[in-house]
């Protein structure tokens, strides 16, 4: 039994090692390529750079990566805040409601999760354009929130269903209104699910490309993915600068991931529980 367990364990570790290398290899190649010359990338794609130069980073920064980074930070922070606040309140009300209407409403919200973004690109563009919001941060924050809220509501809903009711009842007896129960008792104890939702949505919105490409056409409002895309010309691309730009875009996420790894893994595996 023990040797069989060991064999299975070794097999699983092997699979995970191969998978980890598979995931990390492109990341490593990206960082290494950012220090190479254009010629090196094509002649020695797997080799190390001959000299350590930051020229590619300078070129990438030169196209306005700093501004894109700032735009991404603003858009991600606003959309994630909006998603977390709206989803948490909605999910709490839905989780505590017993009426069939509210259950139907919850199903509708869940159904919204299934609508692919590509299917609404044209009407969404028309809406945003008609509202005069094109090329503004709000233009991208609202669609991001709309797409993030259904999933996050599901995440919070599952968490709130299992939240101990006695705590809420005790708070009501202690003089809390319904909103105070949520604000003073439920929310402070929902740290894991708030962190999970925030990290998950931050990663998603930080990397989002299609909506940003469509709704943010002016350079001053572009987010990182679209801004970096500008390094690809019609006939050629500055690959070292592109890799440097992507490395800059990836670094904040890596920092967030390392800092909140535990919550991130929980958000992916346990729906915030």
């Amino acid at each position: 039994m023990t040797s069989r367990y060991r064999l299975v364990s070794i097999g699983l570790h092997l699979v995970m090692t191969v998978w980890t290398l598979f995931v990390l290899a492109p990341l490593c190649l990206m960082f290494v390529a950012a220090f190479k010359s254009q010629a090196d990338i094509f002649t020695r794609p797997l080799g190390l750079p001959k000299t350590l130069t930051f020229a590619a980073f300078e070129r990438a920064w030169g196209i306005g990566i700093g501004g894109f980074l700032f735009n991404s930070l603003v858009v991600t922070a606003l959309s994630v805040t909006l998603i977390v606040v709206v989803s948490a309140l909605a999910a709490y009300v839905l989780a505590r409601a017993s009426s069939r209407r509210m259950q139907a409403l919850y199903l509708l919200i869940v159904a919204g999760f299934a609508v692919p973004v590509q299917s609404v690109l044209v009407p969404l563009y028309q809406f945003v354009s008609a509202a005069g919001l094109l090329n503004s941060q709000i233009a991208i924050v609202i669609p991001y929130a709309a797409y993030g809220i259904p999933f996050t509501t599901m995440l919070f809903y599952a968490f709130f269903l299992e939240f101990p009711r006695e705590l809420e009842e005790a708070a009501r007896l202690d003089g809390c209104s319904r909103f105070q129960v949520f604000w003073r008792i439920v929310l402070p104890l929902s740290g894991p699910v708030v962190a999970s939702a925030a990290i998950f949505q931050a990663v998603f919105n930080w990397n989002e490309f299609i909506l940003a490409l469509m709704l943010l056409t002016e350079t001053r409002v572009r987010t990182l993915p679209v801004g970096i895309y500008g390094l690809i010309g019609q006939y050629s691309a500055d690959w070292p600068a592109l890799m440097a730009g992507l490395a800059i875009a990836t670094l904040p996420l890596l920092v967030v991931f390392v800092a909140a790894q535990r919550h991130f893994v929980r958000s992916m595996s346990g729906l915030g529980k």
Binding site: P164, E166, E169, A170, R172, L173, D174, G175, I185, L189
Partner: protein
């Protein structure tokens, strides 16, 4: 201290009525224990008093003030929950003072109230800790402290000791008794544990299937149960119930032939009870401690020991007495439960003679109403 009046309270869910018109009054300073089997509606009633459930009809009053539709925090009640319900993100002091903070009281007043409650409950050294750093007993003390600081008209307890181990439960029973004596507060306590009910209550409310079966002082209920449910529910081990039939009736008495007894027995019935007629099915009841010592006039029943529960200072015997069986028993095997106030050196399979004094029998009619209480316990 104010009184609490429960007046014809009904609580219905979609297709189920949990409370079917319950009325009783907890007098000022009384310690009322509501007891009954799981699902009898006792916790629902307590939650209705607290305002955590909306009742379908009836009224709830504290000192005559109708609180039926008042918000939980405006009712003048404080509740101690089964699972403590302490806020994990607050310290013990913050937990205890939370209600006063929500009421907008000054910090100095909150601190004084917290200190006073902590002193009463002997938890001064834990005030800076969070609930997860406390033991079960300490958590329950904090929960009680939280209730004390609110200075409520009525304290409500929802099975507060059921998560504690046996030793701690016993200790907390004593402490709650002390607290009641100290605060002289009106308290309503829900439990399914009859030991808690018998030891702590000034009055017990026995509930079953959404109705009150009987209300009274603990020993009154034990000695003079109104029906077979109360007789069976109060007392451990459970009362022995033996099926019988009336073979003669007249005057103030009946003659009953019990299944498994070698001879019919004559029993007087209560003056206010309806005299059964010949042929009526009845039930004889005999508490485990009411078996005799073999005195003249007692009926000797040969039996065999089935199970021995040695409890140290006392022993519970479960005996197989052939055709003389108890129905509705804890073991479901029909063994008669007998109590001995000492250690006995018997083992399963050993022969045993049970001695029964006919005067020790309770008698219940076909509708389970009590017709007779034994003279010895009257």
């Amino acid at each position: 201290m104010p009184s609490l009046q429960i007046d014809s309270v009904v609580k219905s869910y979609e297709s189920f009525t949990a409370i079917k018109g319950v009325s009783f009054t907890a007098e000022p300073g009384e310690f009322v224990v509501m007891v009954g089997p799981s699902g009898c509606g006792k916790s629902t009633l307590l939650r209705s008093i607290a305002g955590l459930e909306t009742i379908t009809s009836g009224a709830i009053r504290i000192d005559g003030r109708d609180i039926t539709h008042a918000e939980p925090s405006d009712r003048g009640v404080a509740m101690v929950f089964q699972n403590y319900a302490l806020y994990p993100h607050m310290t013990v002091a913050e937990n205890i003072g939370f209600a006063l903070k929500m009421a907008g009281r000054p910090k100095t007043e909150i601190a004084a109230a917290v200190a006073k409650a902590a002193k009463i409950l002997r938890i001064e050294e834990h005030l800076h800790k969070t609930p997860k750093q406390l033991s079960g007993g300490q958590k329950q003390r904090v929960a009680i402290g939280r209730a004390i600081t609110r200075a409520p008209d009525v304290f409500l307890f929802d099975e507060p000791l059921s998560n504690l181990d046996a030793a701690l439960r016993s200790q907390m029973r004593v402490e709650l008794g002390r607290l009641h004596a100290e605060l002289k507060a009106t308290m309503v306590y829900v439990t399914h544990d009859q030991t808690e009910a018998m030891t702590m209550a000034t009055r017990i409310v026995v509930m079953n299937a959404g109705r009150i079966e009987q209300v009274g002082a603990p020993l009154d209920l034990y000695n003079r149960p109104r029906n077979r449910f109360v007789a069976g529910f109060l007392g451990s081990p459970r009362m022995n119930f033996i099926k019988g039939r009336v073979v003669a009736a007249g005057g103030m008495g009946v003659t009953v032939q019990a299944e498994g007894l070698p001879m019919p027995i004559q029993l007087e019935i209560e003056p206010d009870a309806d005299l059964p007629t010949i042929g009526d099915a009845v039930t004889l009841g005999l508490r485990a401690e009411m078996f005799g010592q073999g005195a003249p006039g007692e009926i000797a029943i040969p039996a065999r020991v089935a199970v021995v529960e040695g409890l140290g200072r006392e022993t519970l015997l479960y005996a197989d007495a052939g055709d003389l069986k108890t129905f509705d028993s804890e073991s479901q095997d029909g063994y008669l439960a007998a109590h001995r106030a000492s250690q006995v050196m018997l083992r399963p399979g050993d022969p045993l003679t049970l001695s029964i004094d006919p005067a020790a029998f309770y008698l219940f009619d076909a509708n389970d109403r009590t017709l007779r209480f034994p003279a010895v316990s009257a």
